[in-house]
């Protein structure tokens, strides 16, 4: 990697003020995406702002009608969380199927969402659960519904000087599942992913890797296949992905209904 300036803020306020400083600043959470981008020189950087020393960004907390997942909570912590396991099997399954144990011990929930990959594994379950993204910037805190959070591949609704501090999930439990179709069993990105949740009798469906962003769609396999907008790439053709959506959405809906 090229040399960069390095900061370890101790509070969210300090991190926000560093992020707003002149130059190309990048936030470091788990590092499993950022370091790869920096090594490949895909992202120019003057300063890396490491968020790991901000304790308030970590952990899963139940309070009233919401469960808040700190942005720096690792994928492993999500996978092992009892709060998650007893409420949202689909979210736990998405965490478990990501990457490898070594990467899950490092990678964070916030990082997975802020990188805004169309294939981000946590996105379809959180879309089904109507999660809210908590953003903090110089003008204070605001929440963004996850349905309007993803703006395109690698782009989010966060302003350049805002930091995602956490994800709030309505605490109602949901039956459902997450199905990730890959060409190998571990360490692979989704060719197509489908999450399905039944939240107080309402069935919800969301898709990953078949549009410029992860998307919520009507809870019907036919409509999902029609509504998705996949591309041809190294992992699969658009046509194959659309057919996968039809089949996997059907399976997910059947499983959630059973």
């Amino acid at each position: 990697m090229r040399p960069f300036e390095y900061e370890e803020p101790r509070s969210i306020e300090e991190a926000v003020s560093l992020l707003g400083a002149p130059g190309k600043n990048r936030l470091l959470a788990g590092g499993t995406d950022l370091l790869v981008r920096l090594k490949r020189r895909e992202w120019p950087v003057d300063r890396v702002i490491n968020l790991k020393r901000i304790e308030t960004l970590r952990g899963i907390e139940e309070r009233g009608d919401w469960v808040t997942v700190g942005a720096l909570t690792t994928i492993e912590e999500l996978e092992r969380s009892e709060v998650v396991a007893k409420r949202w099997p689909l979210l736990r399954e998405a965490a478990m199927e990501m990457a490898s144990p070594q990467v899950r011990a490092m990678a964070t929930a916030g990082g997975n969402l802020c990188n805004a990959s169309p294939a981000a594994d946590l996105a379809p379950p959180l879309l089904c659960l109507d999660a809210q993204m908590i953003a903090v910037g110089p003008r204070g805190e605001r929440t963004i519904a996850i349905r309007s959070f993803f703006a395109g591949p690698g782009r989010t609704a966060l302003a350049p000087d805002e930091i995602l501090t956490g994800i709030r999930i309505p605490s109602a439990p949901a039956r459902g599942c997450f199905i990730k179709f890959c060409t190998r069993r571990a360490m692979d990105l989704a060719v197509v992913s489908v999450a399905c949740a039944v939240v107080s009798k309402e069935t919800r469906l969301a898709l990953g890797a078949v549009a410029p962003t992860p998307i919520r769609v009507a809870a019907s396999a036919e409509e999902a296949a029609m509504r998705c907008a996949p591309i041809d790439d190294v992992r699969a053709t658009a046509e194959y992905r659309r057919e996968l959506v039809r089949v996997l959405a059907g399976r997910a809906l059947a499983k959630a209904a059973s």
Binding site: Q102, A105, M187
Partner: protein, 146 residues
């Protein structure tokens, strides 16, 4: 600007001055000479650079050196005690779970930390003997959960 980095590596306290853009992998290999930490893909996919950071397997190629501040790091060089190999190392030898050996340190450290071996690639042959060795270590109380 270099930063001070204090960590415990294989039971020994070390204090270094490192530039913050360097990875833990680079510091372990280049500054401390621990070449049992292997650089394979350098993008977190192959697991050859696996080390234990506070007892947990991580890929050192994607760990920024300053993130090891205050941490305890174990590399393959730290497993033997008083010249005697660790049970997992012995199991890999007993079961012939080694070909060229490049992936072996990462395999052994990952096997000691996690329930499943998903993040380590072997490009010589396959995984049957490696799985056999891990089961063998488990059955002898060497425990995949160190």
């Amino acid at each position: 600007m270099k930063r001070r980095l204090n960590m415990t590596v294989n039971g020994h306290a070390v204090a270094l001055e490192v530039a913050p853009h360097r990875t833990l992998l680079e510091v372990l290999r280049e500054d401390l000479g621990l070449t049992g930490v292997r650089e394979g893909c350098s993008t977190g996919d192959c697991g050859a650079c696996t080390v234990l950071l506070n007892g947990k397997a991580v890929v050192s190629c994607l760990t920024l050196a300053p993130d090891a501040e205050g941490a305890s790091v174990t590399t393959i060089e730290g497993l033997a005690k008083d010249g005697k190999l660790d049970a997992m190392q012995e199991a890999f030898i007993a079961k012939g779970a080694i070909q060229c050996g490049f992936c072996t340190p990462g395999m052994i450290l990952a096997a000691k930390s996690a329930d499943v071996l998903e993040g380590n690639l072997c490009r010589c042959t396959g995984y049957a003997k490696i799985q056999e060795a891990i089961r063998h270590a488990g059955s002898r109380g060497g425990s995949p959960h160190a």
